[in-house]
């Protein structure tokens, strides 16, 4: 990815604590228009926390996050709205409203944030459902859809406002491999079609191989590697190699403390 372009997202020295625990530890990351960047890492490494900060749902302890050259860490909720309108978010669980039809779920951001007539919104909703392969499902309730279809519906809602940037949190989590690859292909299609910048949080290597232009590998709140899949695969960093070769952690057992835990004694 060329670095001559201005980044659409620029994260500088981002630090965040949960209580006394440092969750993000000096993150620096530039994301360029039109690229698909995956944030990869083990469970609990800070991936989802980083995503929450980029979309402005959490405020960092330190550092700055620029979206289209605006520092969102200093923006009020009101000033954040115009930026948020051009951001699409696919949440891990889909986050569809179960009491609303699929069509009403997709139409929701348009009804909330625009002055468009309902007749226009309905046509847009059908267009979005068609784009995710759910044409004809607008009157269904989420409970009537399979897991993969729910993800597609959630994706249709995420792109309802024609976002410039689409964020996806674990898009294939909980899906079988065939459905998961279908979602990945759909994301690829949308990327090609709408030239969106896409940021995906995942720990699924198969997804990364298929869709990532670049990968940021996060470990204990730090980016330990950043580059293309090939660059990371050839990295000398043992932690990067461990991840890409899927090598489990060596088993560490302290005999005494294990025994104590079994008999119910606690360390002083």
């Amino acid at each position: 990815m060329t670095t001559s372009k201005q980044p659409i997202i620029d994260i500088q020295d981002l630090v965040t604590y949960y209580g006394s625990r440092k969750v993000l530890d000096g993150i620096n990351l530039k994301i360029f228009p039109g690229e698909t960047l995956t944030i990869l890492g083990r469970s609990g490494c800070g991936k989802s926390t980083l995503l929450r900060h980029i979309i402005g749902l959490s405020k960092p302890t330190g550092g700055r996050i620029f979206i289209k050259a605006q520092d969102i860490t200093t923006l009020s909720e009101e000033d954040m709205l115009p930026i948020r309108r051009k951001i699409g978010m696919l949440f891990q669980g889909g986050a569809l409203f179960n009491s609303m039809t699929v069509g009403d779920n997709v139409a929701l951001p348009l009804r909330e944030h625009t002055e468009l007539e309902d007749s226009t919104i309905k046509i847009m909703t059908r267009m979005k459902l068609d784009q995710v392969g759910l044409a004809g499902f607008e009157d269904f309730l989420p409970s009537q859809l399979s897991g993969g279809m729910k993800k597609r519906a959630a994706l249709a809602r995420a792109i309802a406002m024609d976002p410039d940037i689409l964020f996806c949190d674990e898009p294939s989590a909980g899906l079988d491999p065939i459905v998961a690859v279908g979602i990945d292909n759909l994301i690829l299609k949308l990327k090609k079609a709408f030239r969106m910048t896409i940021v995906i949080v995942t720990h699924e290597l198969e997804s990364v191989y298929l869709i990532a232009d670049r990968v940021a590998l996060l470990d204990e709140g730090k980016i330990i590697a950043l580059g293309t899949v090939d660059e990371l695969k050839n990295s000398d960093n043992p932690k990067v190699q461990q991840f890409f070769r899927r090598i489990p952690d060596p088993e560490k057992i302290d005999k005494d403390s294990y025994l104590k835990s079994l008999i119910g004694e606690t360390d002083e």
Partner: protein
């Protein structure tokens, strides 16, 4: 965004200049509805001045097409820039709309049927 309408034979030509997005699409819709009220027989939309159109713009034109079809009038689009043509193709709406190269072709297309 600017909207200019002029009449030519049995058609109204709507020239759109500027971005057609979530915030400007309602203006386009209003203008098209006003033309419908005036019983415009055929509607030609000149998109030469449009460099960006989002789904709301496309949906607005779908609505216009639906309204024109109801009254057995014709709607033709012309002068689409490549980026705008892409938007139609990606939504497979190039199959739904009659897309002409220029005004002459669009005028000829309404007399052809």
């Amino acid at each position: 965004m600017e909207l200019v309408v002029f009449e030519k034979q049995n058609a109204a030509i709507l020239k759109i200049v500027g971005d057609v997005d979530l915030y400007s699409s309602p203006q386009v819709r209003k203008k098209i509805l006003a033309l419908m009220k005036k019983k415009t027989e055929n509607l030609l939309v000149d998109l030469d001045g449009v460099s960006y159109m989002d789904s709301s713009g496309v949906a607005t034109l779908v609505e216009a097409l639906q309204l024109m079809k109801k009254r057995r009038g014709k709607l033709k689009l012309f002068n689409l820039r490549p980026a705008i043509r892409d938007v139609f193709e990606l939504s497979r709406l190039d199959k739904v709309f009659d897309i002409c190269e220029d005004e002459n072709q669009a005028m000829a297309a309404i007399s052809e049927g």
